[in-house]
């Protein structure tokens, strides 16, 4: 049986434990509140596991170093917040285009710009999807508990490896600094996904570091191994060589989106809370889940059939699960700590005339169950 240990720690600490459990052995980053505990934990823990922590000169170089280390065979990660995440966009795009796995933990805080630096928000959700120039798609998870910080970190690395792409972990100040009970179960090797390697009989002549024919990425050997490996942020052919012809541009563009959007069922995780017989539903994610759960409890106590759909995966959007809710209930409330970013996406799927109500809080304080309930009354 797997080893398991109970702890009472911050979300940011659980992330470090989860990353190491997932096999991460390289961290490159630049400190920023409210994510710095992840850096500090990584600096302390990684060498104990033979891994390397390096603080780079900024977030741009951090992101670049993550990709380099990953190409050298190490699972890599970083942590940041809004300003740093903005700086990472160009090289995040490089990771997407070169198909190099890595995991970025964005501990969201109140923006834009420096904003109210230490206060929570959930307003980088759309940036997570669209911050990179050019057509692409992306995988992003969002934890709502310290347990999630541990468990989903492992999931994040698995998805990064499986889909050969940077994965975003969009947590927030509330969850990052929340201390709570967590059970850290050491994952079984079977629960860890390591990037697919080329078959042992594949020759250099046959080897293709890229493949656009299926919606799954090509095998990815580390540099320094038996096969020469070639990656680039330019439009490339299967060999990873520069290929700026129209047909090639077109297939790369489609492939990068398809490998995520066409695997949406494999990628997306959602959770239902009291949703079965619900007449009023909440759709939410991250720290807002905490307040929403309590709101549901309060409503249930009053006899109102309320339920909640939690988006654990926020990108690709769990369209099916959202549609299932929209088509079933009359009113959906979307609590979030921004001005309605998720609500906008939910509306895209609302072919059912469901009433979609926003419950937003944007003053740097965790949204309360009462505020959520108030929005429902107002309807």
């Amino acid at each position: 049986m797997s080893k398991s240990v109970k702890k009472f720690i911050e979300g940011n600490n659980a992330i470090v434990d989860g990353a190491i459990a997932a096999g991460a052995r390289f961290y490159a980053g630049y400190p920023i509140s409210p994510s710095s505990e992840i850096a500090e934990g990584a600096a302390k823990e990684l060498p104990r596991h033979g891994g390397v922590y390096i603080q780079m000169e900024d977030e741009i170089s951090s992101m670049a170093a993550l990709l380099g280390a990953s190409l050298a065979g190490k699972k890599s990660f970083t942590a940041t917040s809004g300003p740093g995440f903005s700086l990472m966009q160009e090289n995040l795009g490089l990771g997407i285009m070169s198909e190099i796995p890595t995991v970025i933990f964005d501990v969201q805080r109140s923006g834009p710009s420096t904003g109210a630096a230490t206060k929570p928000a959930q307003a980088d959700i759309m940036q997570a999807r669209y911050g990179v120039h050019g057509d692409h798609s992306i995988i992003a998870l969002s934890p709502s508990s310290v347990q999630d910080c541990y468990d989903l970190s492992i999931v994040a690395f698995n998805l990064a490896e499986k889909y050969r792409t940077p994965v975003l972990f969009m947590t927030d100040e509330v969850i990052g600094h929340l201390r709570e009970t967590v059970t850290e179960v050491e994952p079984d090797p079977s629960q860890i996904f390591n990037r697919v390697q080329p078959g042992e009989d594949v020759t250099q002549a046959e080897f293709r570091p890229y493949s656009f024919s299926s919606n799954m990425p090509a095998p990815m050997p580390a540099v320094g191994g038996r096969l020469l490996m070639r990656t680039t942020g330019s439009t490339h052919d299967e060999k990873g060589e520069f290929g700026p012809g129209p047909a090639n541009i077109d297939r790369v563009t489609h492939y990068l989106t398809d490998k995520i959007e066409k695997n949406v069922d494999d990628i997306t995780i959602t959770r239902s809370y009291q949703l079965e017989d619900a007449e009023v539903a909440f759709i939410t994610f991250g720290c807002s889940v905490r307040s929403t759960m309590t709101a549901v409890d309060i409503l249930r106590a009053k006899g109102v059939k309320a339920g909640m759909l939690q988006l654990v995966t926020i990108w690709p959007m769990p369209e099916k699960a959202i549609r299932a809710v929209l088509s079933k209930v009359e009113t959906v409330v979307v609590p979030e700590m921004n001005l309605g970013q998720l609500a906008g996406e939910v509306r895209k799927f609302n072919d059912y005339g469901c009433k979609v109500i926003q419950a937003n809080r944007t003053d740097g304080v965790l949204i309360t169950p009462k505020q959520i309930l108030d929005r429902l009354e107002e309807k």
């Binding site: 390289f26 490159a28 060498p47 104990r48 033979g50 891994g51 390397v52 390096i54 780079m56 000169e57 900024d58 741009i60 170089s61 951090s62 670049a64 170093a65 993550l66 990709l67 380099g68 280390a69 990953s70 190409l71 050298a72 065979g73 190490k74 890599s76 160009e90 090289n91 490089l94 070169s98 580390a222 540099v223 320094g224 191994g225 038996r226 096969l227 020469l228 490996m229 070639r230 990656t231 680039t232 942020g233 330019s234 990873g240 060589e241 520069f242």
Partner: protein, 271 residues
């Protein structure tokens, strides 16, 4: 015995660089040094940035990582620490390596990451049409300094030295023999090594500044060259406008990973 061709995708030639462009001269030198050192090509990883010279990877048959403009050294830091056994080579233009990428250069030098960086200094942004860069000499004409450039240019090697680089050298495309020696020295050096190579961009810099054909530009750089040994006897004024070539810095200093490994080992002593 291996030749440079063994490290190249020779079939992809002719390359896309302009006639007379110095980048091809460095490419040949790099591959020749690999051959000289009889390296196993699987152990070499090239990280290159964006720019004309950044495209050397198109012609090399080794591991290649072509990244974004200016970030090659940062990515290479990850490669070098991700697998300290690798021979990591980084190729950049002057824009790539010292203008947009200047911060990575000085920090990488300071940290003494074990890699070899080659900067092809052609005094301008070749790839985007000949705009001025951080190394464009004062008074030059470029596509964005039509009235003469008013900035002072970097002395890349001096900067790297001030930042703490443990191996710094400069050569020119005119002098491939010296270039090879210095590149090889950099690859054999344990720690951060920087080799600046002066090359001609006849298409833009040469044309804007009426420096003639590529060969004329190379003659000019040769005339401007002063071996470092001689330069040490010259005054600052005498050195004005000269290119000091040779091995400028060569220090023994423990590289980043060697030091980090000691922490790893100390933390795992009782395991």
């Amino acid at each position: 015995m291996a030749t440079y061709k063994d490290y190249m995708l020779f079939d992809k030639l002719p390359h896309t660089w302009c006639a007379g462009c110095g980048d091809g001269i460095i490419l040949q030198s790099i591959a020749a040094v690999f051959a000289e050192m009889e390296l196993d090509k699987h152990d070499i990883t090239l990280v290159s940035g964006i720019g004309c010279f950044g495209r050397v990877d198109d012609y090399l048959d080794i591991n290649c990582m072509h990244v974004t403009h200016g970030r090659a050294l940062a990515a290479a830091t990850g490669v070098a620490l991700g697998n300290p056994e690798l021979n990591v080579l980084v190729t950049m233009g002057d824009g790539d390596g010292t203008t947009i990428g200047g911060n990575h250069l000085i920090h990488c030098a300071r940290r003494n990451i074990d890699l070899t960086a080659i900067i092809a200094n052609n005094y301008n942004y070749g790839q985007t049409g000949g705009q001025y860069s951080g190394t464009t000499p004062t008074d030059s004409i470029t596509s964005t300094s039509p009235y003469g450039h008013i900035e002072q240019n970097f002395d890349i090697c001096k900067l790297a030295e001030a930042a703490g680089a443990s191996y710094v050298a400069r050569s020119t495309a005119y002098n491939p023999v010296q270039m090879r020696k210095l590149i090889r020295g950099g690859m054999e050096h344990k720690g951060f090594a920087l080799i600046e190579v002066m090359v001609a961009c006849p298409t833009h810099y040469g044309r804007y500044n009426r420096q003639g054909e590529a060969a004329d530009m190379m003659k000019l750089m040769n005339e401007q060259s002063v071996p470092v040994e001689k330069a040490r006897t010259m005054t600052e004024e005498e050195l004005e406008g000269r290119i000091v070539t040779g091995l400028l810095v060569d220090k023994d200093r423990e590289d980043y990973y060697t030091k980090y490994k000691k922490i790893i080992d100390a933390q795992n002593m009782d395991k």
